[in-house]
Amino acid sequence: MKKYIDQGKKDTRSGYGAGMTELGRSNPKVVALCADLVGSLKIEQFIEENPERFFQVGIAEANMMGIAAGLTVGGYIPFTGTFANFSTGRVYDQIRQSIAYSGKNVKICASHAGLTLGEDGATHQILEDIGMMKMLPGMTVINTCDFNQTKAATLAIAEHKGPVYLRFGRPKVPNFTAPDQDFEIGKAVILSEGTDVTIAATGHLVWEALVAAEALETRGISAEVINIHTIKPLDEKTLLDSIRKTGCVVTAEEHNFLGGLGESVARTLTQHYPAPQEFVATRDTFGESGTADQLMKKYGLDNKAIEKAVSQVLERKK
């Protein structure tokens, strides 16, 4: 299988910050808003270089979403920044009415998504955000896997007209995709070709899928690893082409198995090509305090869990 090299661990949120710095220099219509989490979102450089295009709204996320909607009236492209929980669940109706239903060109950028937020615990670890956001008509939903891809996605969504939910995380994780890559919204990336099983992963689980695929290779199992960075619109063609070849799929995400990537894939299969699927995802549960690694292990979201799910799905394929 194709090998990927970790260019050095980095956090995806720093990819967002780097993307914002570049947008600050290249696109005068981009404005940033933040609800008292500038350091966490890594947008200090953008603010330093473009103080007039930054709006500190304080701990008032509902107001932030409304202000962002209003800023589009006048031609601006607002990027809101706070933790994923406060970017979605806390402000769902504001996003629904003032942004999605109103068709406003707002980019909702959410860090600290999922369990890997770590020690702060379940109050902050949202595992339902992909589901909430993908259900909103017209909303694009993106969950990036590493620093380079998060930076590329940040640049790409500025060019896309319409509301976007961009989800990324807190911890430093392997940075393995190409620097200065093109990011095509809605186009899945086949990272490694294989014939026995498709592993469709998103976000932090993409690297884990690659690690699992390597281990599977030593056991004589050929896994095709697909990076689903865009959950909506879902690249059904790439998925179906792969699953028609392999005959089964494991989906992997740092999210509840209700409402996440897995369910989107399951719907696609049910409609077009019913095939066995296993879900690497949390099982309708809240998280808890712990280190990111401990939590991913305990809740079954690491490469070992993916390997196990592959064994299960291969059994069902027989």
């Binding site: 008032a60 509902a62 107001n63 409304g66 202000i67 006048g74 239903y101």
Partner: protein, 281 residues
């Protein structure tokens, strides 16, 4: 510029539009609409600078946001009468495939509307965002907004009010429809807003009380006063005292007509009290 008498004739016609629209589909919100008719007519015919063709960005013109979207009948009537879309389209209010949805929306592309509203408490934030965009664009036109008084029970308003005061959003004139009524009864009884003017003041706003919120002349004078106070480091709030249902006697001074349509007989009474001026749609 229309004369005061002409404006008052428009008010009467808009009242007819409101009760006829709501009667036809046996749904909608006549009470708050009637209470704000004079405000809308003054705003759109006298106060705001508007361009002839509608553009979402509204650059180089004043912009209005309606936060209490349920009073869509008055909004639609005035937009239509002002030429944003054909007056006959008022016939489609709340019907299937209409651009005139129960609550205003940009979704169907109705000219004149720049945000969806209906779920309460969101319009102040949107108005602030648009005001910030005006500043970034070095556009010295103003943002106007309207909010129900009961609507101020929604917490997002107070995030927005705090922001606008703290960040000196001084190109915004937010008007509160202080009719003292909401669905479950008098605002005073449901959850008192207390001294509303004092609340805005301590949040850093310049506050003007408008006692005669159903008097076109008084509204225009107050709006002009408010305009003169913009650009001075404070957002401006007008607390506009109105009578819900104004102009239709049996709908006045009660919350009963918040979201209820008149029957045939009641419609006839309402129309008799407001004889046709510009011509019915």
């Amino acid at each position: 510029m229309p004369t005061l008498q002409e404006l008052e004739e428009i008010v009467v016609q808009v009242r007819r539009d409101i009760v006829r629209m709501v009667h036809k589909v046996n749904s909608g919100h006549p009470g708050g609409s009637l209470g704000c008719t004079e405000f809308f007519v003054a705003l759109y015919y006298e106060v705001m600078e508007q361009k002839r063709t509608f553009s979402m960005d509204g650059i180089g013109e004043d912009i209005f946001f309606l936060s209490n979207g349920h009073i869509s009948p008055v909004y639609y009537s005035v937009l239509a009468r002002k030429g944003y879309f054909p007056i006959e389209e008022l016939n489609t209010f709340r019907l299937l495939d209409s651009r005139l949805q129960g609550h205003p929306t940009t979704h169907e592309g109705l000219p004149g509307v720049r945000i969806s509203s209906g779920s309460l408490g969101q319009g102040m934030s949107v108005a602030i965002g648009a005001a910030l965009a005006k500043k970034l664009n070095a556009d010295d036109h103003l943002i106007y907004s309207l909010h129900g008084d009961g609507e101020l029970q929604e917490g997002q308003n107070w995030e927005a009010i705090m922001y606008a005061g703290s960040k000196k959003v001084d190109n915004l004139i937010a008007t509160i429809d202080r009719n003292g009524q909401q669905i479950d009864g008098a605002t005073e009884d449901v959850m008192s807003l207390g001294d509303l003017g004092a609340k805005f003041k301590v949040f850093g706003w310049d506050v003007i009380e408008l006692k005669e919120g159903n008097n076109v002349d008084a509204i225009i004078k107050t709006m002009k006063e408010a305009k003169s106070r913009t650009g001075k480091g404070k957002p401006v709030c007008i607390i506009m005292h109105t009578v819900m249902g104004h102009g239709v006697d049996f709908m006045m001074h009660t919350h009963a007509w918040h979201g209820k349509a008149p029957n045939d007989e009641q419609l006839a009474t309402a129309l008799a009290q407001n004889t046709e001026t510009l011509g019915d749609y």
